[in-house]
Point group: D2
Chain length 494, copies 4
């Protein structure tokens, strides 16, 4: 078996939209750079700083003499690209993408950037987000006789955009506006068209995107999170505005916004930033839409201390995600903070043991309690969120086995009760341990029992909004409230 | 660096057609099987028997519940597929493809089968041949707003076919006929549509394709060369006719032909089998369009003995391609046959030595003369054909260095003087050592001098045609005569 | 290039002993299991729990019908072994080893277990520690005409042991005692001899080793750290005593100790546990020689708060090693604890950027400051130890660049001023930033200046001993005091 | 699973010697070069020219400042070494080795060169041949308390040699003579000692070894076959004499021979060249002990035509080994030579099909008959030798199925009836299809029946000896006559 393989199976990912099937791009990271020199190296470093946003595949595209060269591969950024490979990217404009594994399958054809050749020239796209109505367009176009090579929303977008480019005689801004008028969903996009890097953020600003200026040479950069600027010695300028199109240049960048007619929110023109970026997804050292991720998590811990104090001897974070919250809770309550659960850094993924009886032990390898911290104590466990609850149930049991007298669970996010159609890989209602009724009554005793905890408490929606510090109307809380900022068949709109 | 990578650079292969650029599929092998069981294993074995037709990439596609599953990879068939992989192909209908490396670049995206999803369902295609006007269609469709993901003629074909399928309401035979009416070139195609295997041969029958019946279970098979039938215990039925469409079933196969309006030859309806299959490309143990490849080569040797006798002591083949011809020449002339050049079976490809002075030695590793066979002798070297002449020049020198008194070169093919646009990777005039004038005068002293030989002779066109035993009007001799069976901008038509 | 390679270069690692060169095994992890079933799986899981003790190579050996089968490979335990491989180990007795990369070179021949065939039968050894006089034995044996295949102390040991086995007529305990009488250094060893697992700890108990009982089936286990018992559901019984030999059985284990004449400490019979296991090397969730590693680290933080209080706004750990200490310091001083430095989990090793100017950025990728936590603050940075000081200098600078008003460094280990010859990879005096005089005067201003800190303080030796809770005379403090528990040419003995 | 692995299982290869077990080196290729520059590249190219002598592993060792650096890996020479790797070998003296796969297992630890460190310095050895009494020495040394790491005769030799080096105070020639006095068997050895390349051939000259002079720079070369000289532009000087030791220099080479007391043949001082080198093992373009391999094979064909003429229509070689013989037989009998069996060059090794019923087809993939050559004909099949007869039986059946009227088999080697203990991988009597009685009576009807042939004939021993042209007393014919040139327990001596 050679290693250079590609599986072109057409798995279609039904997430409940009637008559509209399309695999969504989901959780990803994007970066685009126009630089006097080494633009591919800047993109490479930016993608590595964003690696937490996706570990499945990585890709970089550049434009040379109006032709686009692209290399993509499965794995981490530094596994896909080496020094030799980077040196082959000669253009001053580059875009890059890292993809989160949503399916577990390794399919290079879902990797990005996607490159296509139009009559106007080559174009490349890297996309973070989900286009809700991509399936509808795909169906319509197939009825017209188009054949599709993948089931991704990225293929739909690049083909629609190429079509608009021809319709508009190659006017990319006009073409992008036409595209933004019809597609619905979340999209932070970097594009390579006509040798230039463009960045587009959806009208609601659902997924993050920000602009920076390179310090070591002329040029500009756009990226999913500000943490990438630290890695490449760039200075943060500002977030890309919802609905804005930005064109990077060597000496300045241009902004296009306030054009009418894009598919804006249903009833209002405000934005809808995804709250989950602050709660869990973004790196703590990033600043998203003006708000420090670390500070939000620390405040959440303190807010939880206010909302759901408990008499306990020790507060223990689930590593690594609950740590910042736990320090805040410790400060708010005075309960000592201890790292009572140790994560094995080398247990990357589950290894299937030959003997079934030994499979359970794999779990213990990943996380191990420190008995001296736990034994005889009333323990508070802190984590960022609960989705299915299965892992939390196992951890509660593990802490009890280590001798805890009581185990209380505190969660830095209100109960997730509804699917995300806009960029997080939670597509079915049935997976959530919490029910809408739990959330409404703010009564978590049912779930506490399921996970074996003496008590369970979530931060309130109001508390979360307060910690983020952005008006509730400007956040997407769909997975918490069942009310979405864009129309989704079968779901309510906020 | 992980190994699972894909380079999506858009190299466009200009071969001189004005305004029409498209990378051609070229030299390949195809197979399709409908079988009661193990259809993927049959395709796998058939492709391995056809491995000489392409070593760059291999792929197999099957149809299960009207969805197509496909796996492709770089390398030899047994490197791409292992037992586990084969076992995943569950359908009773399978097609497969092996691709010849024409560019040297390793690009998985050029691998076949190509799979696409249309409103009628999934379809897959594996293609051997070149579509001459693919570039024209690609340009027209891009003007209409279509974006293309590759520069291959295969992408053009599958998208045109999907379009026709919608236009004809899913009638595959009608759609194929419409396609065949507009595409010009060589094509032996296997298709997977609606869960069935179809095979199509172009109206001139340029590239080979034949039908067989499985002996070990119910089912039928189509493949590029009959040699594949020997490998899978199938019985040869007949060649697919020029312009015929065949549908494989479990108990019988159906044939569709004689429909009017396909793009037939320019002035006559006869076929145009590529003579190069018998001269060099096909395996000696295959029978192509009723003619044994080995016998043709043996006869060529004898014919050369008639046409271009020489006084010599020993006849030595260039291994492995000149062996059958050399035995014929030996028998025709009485000059003893000796294997005076030994090929190193383990020197697969050139290894770049660190020291430039040592690079020349790499050549000697590949081929080594036996001094005792050559020293003091008048040697005849025999090969199937000459294209650039560089290798032959080195070999003549090597044989002289080993002590040959005279070196005469005899070639089993008339001089190649004109590009092939229909499936062989010889696309530019400038590469050929022979000139049209040499060929016309049948005077090869100029080239003999260039390669350092005491004499050089080619079989005549008439001699070659006689050895093949098919009327000259039914052969494609474009690369020998500069007259082509289909219209090619800037070239003459026969 | 195939991947299965081995470099047999003979790098000799001179660490200053006159006339005695031998590469030492150094930092490693060992495990041995005798179990009714799945003994290799138990060893596999134990090694994974010990993975922090070594990531270079892994190996497992088993004994079947008195013949030993062994598999070793470069990489992490789960990279070297898969399900199929594990299933091939059929014996009820198994030993395993993981090796720490001390040289950076990848040399499979240094991997363990080492297997040899003697006239008494096969034997295998896995060793954690350094034999100080291995080089002397190697030289003597070479003078006698022996040829050596590696430069490891493990080869010396297994050959000496095989020799003793013959001398003693196959009495393994007698042979081991004879070996222990002559070898000097640190050694926690697991052996496979005569189908049985034996464990040996050096007379000073320098490196850890402990015994446990399997809960899920009959059998016993020895391992470097108790954390492995958690992973395989075994119950901790006790530490192996200094100078003890343990033989594992299915229903019980046998202990051999108090035999006279082993090479004990120089002047006294007490033990000499390596203090660095608690300070840095062992996992926080292990208990070593009766003392919880986590508790020691937490106490060190509190002790430092006593010894070296400072007026500051925030205490920030260097992740991940300084975290437990920092929490203790925070509690002792009341200064808030914050995770102000974020580690990029995906930056495993340095990637050399093509452009020199960009190489510095690689550092920023690994560790990034949170500006909001640091800006305008008086910061205390906490780490477990300082060796060369280069990393700390960069981090101090990074924290200043992020806006810190003051940067104070607190270190949970007294200054390291002298090489370790007994198991830690610090072999040369010149590498240490601290000088003996700094340590004697407890004045760190010189080093503080070198690393750019406003102040630097280490815990005192007495403070450290108090936190560990084991009498000073029973600890090896050689790297801190220049006085070693065994005779080392050119060094003082305590 | 990482790829860099090593299996250290101790498989002991009993070949029937009472009380003496040792795995033998067997069929291999060796090369040694002392050159002004690029000595490793010369060894690399020589090994590639010798690749037919072994495909399992490859290794090169060089000496720099009296320390030996060595790299070995599994696979073909150009797979183990790349340009970067070659460039790391800095010494002017290099030796190399390629190993034939005798067991099928991939064990790097059996790869050569073997390197060891003695008190006199490092030494490396690469060995082609079998030491018959290696097992005896191994047993004796283990009784003395030595532990062995492999079961190879190479480990025994290097350790004995290191021991002799110490005994002789570092006098390598004296040490080698002492070694040659006690070891019995076949050995063509290249050594790296004291920074110099030495070559040794056993007193009977069983395996080939020859000396050449570099033409492109100062220096000398020794290698298993003269064909390697063609690859590196060296001039053949002469074969190394039986019992000779050669030391390579930059400007000349030194020879040491005629020292008394080496373990010479049993009753006479003549040599015993292995006849199988000419019959099968060596490359046709080599000259072994003054005799062209190709000419021997051609003569064998002619001799067979004399000894065993048959009335037939066509003579077909089994490719590739029977080709030279078949041309000779064709010339001797006048029966036309045809390549009626085509070998698939891409079927390197057997691929296990998922369905048992399809496994048989794998055979057909490797070799395929040309029906037009065979059908209705009386066919003579020609091969170099028969060992088990299973392959020949299948081929005879295949040729019958293709329509042959008669199938006669002619074999270029007398029946193999007895094991080889001296370098060819035929270790057990039970494997041979021929019996001593067949050979004695020269009646092959029993075997002809077993393989399904109409007639079977072997060349006579006298005929073979005549074709080689070396006196019978100077050849090793043990596998044909059951009489061996050295004492082998349980076998007769010639």
């Amino acid at each position: 078996m050679v290693n250079t393989t590609s599986q072109c199976d057409d798995i279609i990912d039904d997430y409940g939209l009637k008559g509209a099937f399309c695999k969504l791009s989901g959780h990803c990271g994007v970066a685009g750079v126009t630089a006097e020199k080494e633009s591919a190296s800047y993109v490479f470093l930016a993608l590595r700083a964003l690696q937490h946003r996706g570990q499945e595949s990585a890709g970089i595209a550049t434009s040379v003499d109006n032709q686009i060269e692209c290399f993509r591969g499965m794995g981490l950024v530094h596994e896909v690209f080496n020094t030799q490979r980077l040196a082959t990217f000669k253009g001053t404009s580059c875009i890059g993408h890292i993809r989160y594994s949503t399916t577990g399958a390794s399919e290079l054809k879902n990797a990005q950037p996607v490159v296509a050749s139009s009559s106007i020239g080559d174009l490349a796209i890297a996309h973070n987000g989900d286009i809700v109505n991509a399936g509808k367009f795909r169906d319509e176009l197939r009825e017209k006789g188009w054949a599709f090579f993948t089931t991704t929303d990225s293929e739909v977008m690049i083909r629609l955009l190429a079509n608009e480019l021809v319709n508009t005689g190659g006017d990319i801004f006009h073409a992008l506006q036409n595209l933004m008028r019809v597609i619905i969903g979340s999209y932070s996009i970097v594009l390579l068209v006509g040798g230039k890097v463009l960045a587009v953020r959806d009208p609601l600003g659902i997924k993050p995107l920000c602009i920076g200026k390179l310090n070591d040479c002329k040029g500009y950069v756009v990226t999913s999170e500000s943490v990438a600027f630290d890695a490449i010695n760039a200075t943060f300028i500002r977030d890309v505005a919802p609905g804005e199109i930005v064109e990077l240049g060597m000496n300045r960048y241009k902004s296009y916004r306030n054009f009418s007619g894009t598919v804006a929110p249903n009833t209002h023109s405000a934005c809808a930033h995804c709250m989950f970026e602050w709660v869990y997804f973004a790196r703590p050292d990033s600043i998203i839409d003006g708000v420090s991720v670390y500070e939000v998590r620390n405040k959440i811990g303190k807010k939880l201390a206010e909302e759901h104090r408990v008499d306990a001897d020790v507060i223990i974070p689930i590593p690594d995600s609950g740590r910042a919250h736990a320090v805040g809770y410790s400060e708010g309550t005075g309960i000592p903070f201890r790292e009572g659960l140790i994560k094995n850094r080398y247990v990357a993924r589950t290894f299937i043991m030959p003997e079934p009886s030994m499979r359970e032990t794999e779990v213990k390898l990943k996380l191990n309690p420190i008995k001296s911290v736990i034994e005889g104590k009333r323990v508070v466990l802190m984590d960022d969120s609960i989705v299915r609850g299965t892992t939390m149930r196992r951890i509660v049991q593990m802490v009890r086995n280590a001798g805890a007298r009581e185990v209380h669970v505190r969660i830095g996010c209100p109960p997730i009760i509804s699917p995300c159609y806009l960029g997080i890989d939670m597509k079915t209602r049935s997976q959530f341990i919490a029910k809408p009724s739990d959330s409404k009554r703010q009564d978590y005793t049912r779930v506490a029992k399921m996970i074996g905890a003496d008590s369970l408490a979530h931060i309130s929606i109001e508390g979360l909004v307060e910690c983020i510090g952005i008006p509730k109307g400007n956040l997407c809380l769909g997975c918490l409230t069942e009310k979405y900022p864009v129309e989704i068949p079968g779901e309510r709109t906020r």
